[in-house]
């Protein structure tokens, strides 16, 4: 190994390297925080996907004789591009759940008139379920939500379990799906809602197609919940990136002062490099190399720790509660890159510049 190489310094100054590496290592916690934020938002992904594939047309309370609603239903029936099921106008709430960040949230819910309608929609959404026991008054939930709420198939649940429940419902099917929706079966003979879906369209295309079909008739078309999820959870991202910047500033200052201490002790070394003509560029490269190698070590060690932490947290805690912490997320990676760049880049620039200017004649 060449004596001037960055690795040579780090190898021969292990204690200093470990201290500086530890400071940078802390920034890896940003990945975990990012994963938490992304995991919370991610639990709504299935819900959003369902609502992308279904447009719900509701009658308006002002439409006293259901005139507009009935005419829309008639047009939906006639349209060869669309499939549909109808249901009661009565709305049901989903069950409340706690997220990984211990925030109580509620998801959306769908209520169908019978298990056959439910099956049609499930088939369209790709949900596999045994609905043979489902009857009027049933609730169908996912395995995750069941674990989270501590309920199992056959249980009868009511207000004592969740404030959102207005009456008793029997849990007659549990689906293996990542969603937190509640699917109800309820029929009182009324029709006031249409679930419209299509093999041809989905997402905004489907919504626009249905909206065009409805025209200016007085019904309410529910749009995808994706936008409202984004709207409601953007605040998490703002907080997260705020935290990232704060953590980065604190770490940049502490790491910077640790590194400053290291480089101040080495002023003679860099002064003599300058005198011997090793060159400013080579000195800057050496400083950058030293910091980047420490950063790399911190990153690798951090990745191992993040993976281990996530694995243990999922296996020992979250999976049993019906929750899941992602191993990697765009949010976590972006946050880490931002934090790491704020810590490492100024240090590379300023320390490199300072050390390349050390003048041996001043000693």
């Amino acid at each position: 190994m060449k004596p001037f190489s960055a690795l040579n310094y780090l190898k021969k100054n292990k204690n200093r390297t470990i201290i500086a590496t530890l400071m940078i290592f802390i920034s890896m916690s940003i990945i975990v925080i990012g994963n938490y934020v992304a995991s919370v938002v991610g639990t709504f992904e299935k819900d959003a996907t369902y609502s992308d594939n279904l447009v719900v047309i509701n009658m308006q309370t002002t439409d006293e004789n259901y005139k507009d609603f009935k005419s829309v239903l008639s047009d939906v029936k006639k349209d060869k591009n669309l499939s549909y099921v109808t249901s009661s106008p009565r709305g049901f709430s989903s069950l409340k759940r706690n997220t990984l960040l211990n925030i109580t949230v509620g998801d959306a819910s769908y209520a169908f008139k019978n298990r056959y309608d439910m099956k049609k929609v499930f088939d369209h959404l790709g949900i596999e379920a045994d609905l043979s026991d489902v009857k009027n008054g049933s609730i169908v939930i996912s395995e995750n939500l069941a674990k989270l709420k501590g309920i199992k198939k056959g249980d009868v649940i009511d207000k004592s379990l969740d404030d959102n429940l207005e009456e008793e419902h029997s849990v007659d099917a549990i689906i293996k799906d990542d969603c937190y929706f509640a699917f109800y079966v309820y029929d009182n003979g009324d029709t006031g809602r249409i679930f419209v879906y299509s093999e041809k369209y989905e997402g905004k295309e489907l919504y626009d197609y249905v909206a065009n079909l409805v025209g200016d008739r007085d019904v309410l078309i529910s749009s995808s919940i994706r936008e409202s999820i984004k709207r409601n959870f953007n605040v998490f991202y703002y907080i997260f990136y705020g935290v990232v910047i704060l953590v980065a500033i604190v770490l940049a200052i502490t790491t910077g002062s640790v590194l400053t201490g290291h480089y101040l002790k080495r002023r003679y070394e860099f002064g003599i490099y300058n005198a011997l003509g090793l060159g400013k560029k080579a000195i800057k490269k050496k400083v950058a190399g030293e910091i980047l190698i420490m950063d790399g070590i911190a990153f690798i060690a951090g990745c191992v720790c993040v993976l281990m932490f996530t694995f243990l947290a999922n296996e020992l805690v979250y999976k049993q509660q019906g929750m899941y912490l992602g191993y990697i997320s765009k949010t976590g990676i972006l946050g880490f890159i931002l934090c790491n760049a704020l810590i490492v880049l100024p240090n590379i620039y300023f320390k490199g510049r300072k050390m390349s200017r050390v003048d041996v004649t001043q000693f």
Partner: protein
């Protein structure tokens, strides 16, 4: 080799407390030999060495090295010159504390590292430093050994000029003698410029330049055979 033409160096030029280190200094040095620059503390002798070795740029005047004015070179060209043509020995050895002896010698060496190690080893052996000491760090060596390692470091690229600033100031008499012998031997082929205020170490100098108050006070060239002063200015 060196022609110093009317060089002045003023520190803190724009402040009220400016100090004149060199004042219209002119001098010519030979291609090889042992040149001693002597003068009291603060006379400007170190400044002269720094200017000649491109570590400092004069406020006024020119320094020609092999016919080229080195005061106008870019920083990169100066670095190249210091790396390939000049060597440095300072009052303190300035060895890198975490590097061992041989690494310190080879740290700024040009070319293949294995060849540098072999060459550095030969220098060290010839300076009385044994192989078993090559893996030792400077903290495990004596002051005299450290200074000899520093000389080997200065010689690793076989520079045409070695600048030595008070190279024996922190050494005892015996070690000072050893260090000066190494430098004198190198002066048979190349140029050694030694800055000192200790006249005793310049006994065998081929040329002695006296500086007083930033000005050239006296130049004495010695005849090698007879050791007789053959010129005085």
């Amino acid at each position: 080799m060196f022609k110093i033409d009317n060089v002045s160096m003023i520190y803190d030029l724009n402040s009220d407390e400016k100090s004149i280190a060199l004042n219209g200094f002119s001098l010519e040095l030979p291609d090889k030999g042992f040149v001693g620059i002597i003068g009291p503390s603060g006379s400007g002798k170190s400044t002269l060495m720094y200017i000649m070795s491109t570590l400092k740029t004069p406020t006024e005047g020119k320094v020609f090295y092999n016919g080229q004015d080195i005061t106008v070179l870019s920083e990169k060209e100066k670095e190249k010159l210091r790396r390939n043509e000049f060597g440095f020995v300072f009052q303190k050895h300035y060895l890198v504390p975490y590097m061992n002896t041989i690494e310190n010698v080879c740290v700024a060496g040009n070319g293949n590292y294995k060849e540098l190690v072999a060459k550095g080893g030969k220098y060290l052996n010839s300076f009385g430093i044994k192989d078993k000491e090559f893996k030792k760090k400077p903290s495990k060596l004596s002051g005299g050994q450290c200074q000899r390692v520093a000389i080997a470091r200065a010689m690793i690229n076989e520079p045409k000029v070695i600048f030595a600033d008070e190279p024996t100031a922190s050494l005892d008499h015996e070690n000072a003698f050893k260090v000066m012998n190494i430098l004198k031997e190198y002066a048979n082929e190349k140029l050694i410029v030694v800055v000192t205020h200790d006249r005793t170490i310049l006994e065998d100098a081929d040329m002695i330049v006296k500086i007083w108050d930033g000005k050239l006070s006296e130049v004495r060239k010695m005849d090698k055979e007879s050791r007789v002063e053959d010129e005085a200015i």
